[in-house]
Subunit: 320 residues, 2 copies
């Protein structure tokens, strides 16, 4: 991989013009905020820069993306990808640019280095943290840059509550807030607001939670019937797997979501006692030690039984 | 009020010895963490310092308090109160010290300046932010000081999600994290863990939510029957009034909790359209524009009707 330092990446961007910025499939706050912040920074240098429209943009992220969305005929000279670990995560309309990414900037450990030049820093809580460092090299950080960068930073570290938060994350947040941005609205929108449908989903999931292994394993399920009863959208159902991890005493939260009739997507969120990726690997999935997933084609009871057996195999003291 | 600067307060503390630190009634993370952090700082200077035991200490805050709790016979030469706005908020065992507080340190706008000398900074998100500044004057900040100070800081600003968070809050957090503290366990305990009873309370409240005023006003209730059905403790029922404020589209969340049969404590959490303190004042209560409360003695339906009528009186476009 052709790797750059922050300083080198800043120098490249200083030379670029007519830049198209790419965001990833199922765009989150980090990819949107990082791209928008970088776009604002490039425009502040007098450059032409746009974000390639992302077909899956959510309502919450859209206001930060829209001011920078490219018009249909924009022909870039340079292409920069932001927060995209692999070209597999390019949205359909970004695929034509897969082999002409001049600079790829990312923080995922799984980053494949697909750019002609690449800047990756896995210790960054968000790609927005890296973009901040680049922009700080290029000139003063304005509120226009700081607002989307705050979205990037805060969403990827769960508003500074997740374990990927570092002293550096807080230091960057301090610098961003110093520009006078309305971070309060960002916090309210992303961290202190839930749709009524979302709340109905959560209430139903918690109402039906099932415990195993001395109440250390919790199984929460989202059958298709619940989704249709609540009329929940994809946004309402996003990241439901975090819910079970909150239950006191539970160190293995199993969330099973029915994708199609009798096809269940499992998400595990676990503490140190349970290796989530080992359990999911037994059913053809994978992930990290504390967060992993897999898909099982079987009726509800059978799918659940297979997952509990997989967990039992990797956890020595498991009791059904 | 006899007011000190941070520098002056640090100089006083440098001269003090045999110090007793006081925390407030219904102790929260800020009062406990600030007192423990200050106590660790004083001990690092070779001084004798203790926290007066607080009879209402919660399980989550206790581990940060316990290492500094005073033994029964401790006779202080100096008394310092931390995060206490008025002597009315002294726990019963602190009352004997009410007229001999040498230094009172607080961040509440309602601080009455009851100390012989006082340091108040209402712009601080937490009293912990002020204690950090004092300790930074007195010497290097160690992990022993930083851990309780992080508890103080993070709990009072909702893990950096509340509107009282500032650039300074993040800058202090960055400095605290730099000492290498296990802030992850603090975040998990305070922000990412809920008891099963707490979750059951929330599910029941959300299941029974009632909307008014074009779904902008939500009424959530916690009758005594629910508390006893769930066997919820005071800790489980803490800060339930935040729940309704999360519902998308709601700018007036009314939480009514039955304290005794037919005695309801109302908590309002509102957006700019609804002045919570004006509505509650009509029923003999008070608070802030965005958060206020009052108590109504009446059966459920009657109590609710009175509150909705009070809101209608202060909100011009309210529709039942």
């Amino acid at each position: 991989m052709n790797s750059l330092t922050v300083h080198q990446a800043a120098e490249r961007l200083r030379d670029f013009d007519n830049v198209l910025l790419l965001t990833h499939l199922r765009p989150d706050g980090d990819t949107v905020g990082s791209a928008a912040g970088l776009c604002a920074g490039l425009r502040a240098l007098g450059k032409t820069a746009y974000l390639l429209p992302n077909p899956e943009l959510t309502d919450t992220a859209a206001p930060y993306f829209r001011p920078y969305a490219a018009w249909a005929g924009f022909q870039p000279d340079r292409v920069v990808s932001v927060d995209i670990a692999t070209t597999d995560l390019f949205p359909e309309n970004a695929k034509p640019y897969a082999d002409r990414v001049d600079l790829a900037i990312d923080h995922h450990p799984s980053f494949t280095g697909f750019g002609k030049e690449n800047l990756v820093r896995p210790s960054a809580a968000a790609t927005g943290e890296i973009i901040y460092d680049i922009l700080a090299e290029l000139g003063p950080i304005t509120a226009e840059m700081a607002l989307p960068l705050y979205v990037a930073l805060a969403t990827d570290c769960g508003c500074f509550a997740y374990n990927n938060t570092t002293a550096r994350t807080h230091a960057v947040a301090a610098a961003l807030l110093q520009t006078g941005i309305d971070f309060q609205t960002v916090n309210k929108t992303f961290f202190r607001t839930k749709s009524r449908k979302r709340l109905a989903l959560e209430a139903a999931m918690l109402g039906g939670v099932e415990y195993h292994d001395h109440e250390r394993v919790a199984v929460l399920s989202v059958p298709l019937s619940l989704i249709s009863q609540v009329q929940a959208t994809e946004t309402d159902a996003e990241d439901l797997s975090a819910l079970g991890g909150q239950i006191q005493g539970v160190d293995c939260a199993v969330t099973m979501r029915e994708l199609r009739p009798d096809v269940w997507k499992f998400s595990l969120r676990t503490g140190p006692r349970v290796n989530a990726t080992k359990a999911c690997a037994l059913l053809g999935g994978g992930g990290h030690a504390a967060a992993a997933g897999c898909t099982v084609e079987a009726p509800y009871a059978e799918a659940k039984r297979r997952m509990l057996e997989a967990i039992a195999q990797v956890v020595p003291d498991f009791t059904m």
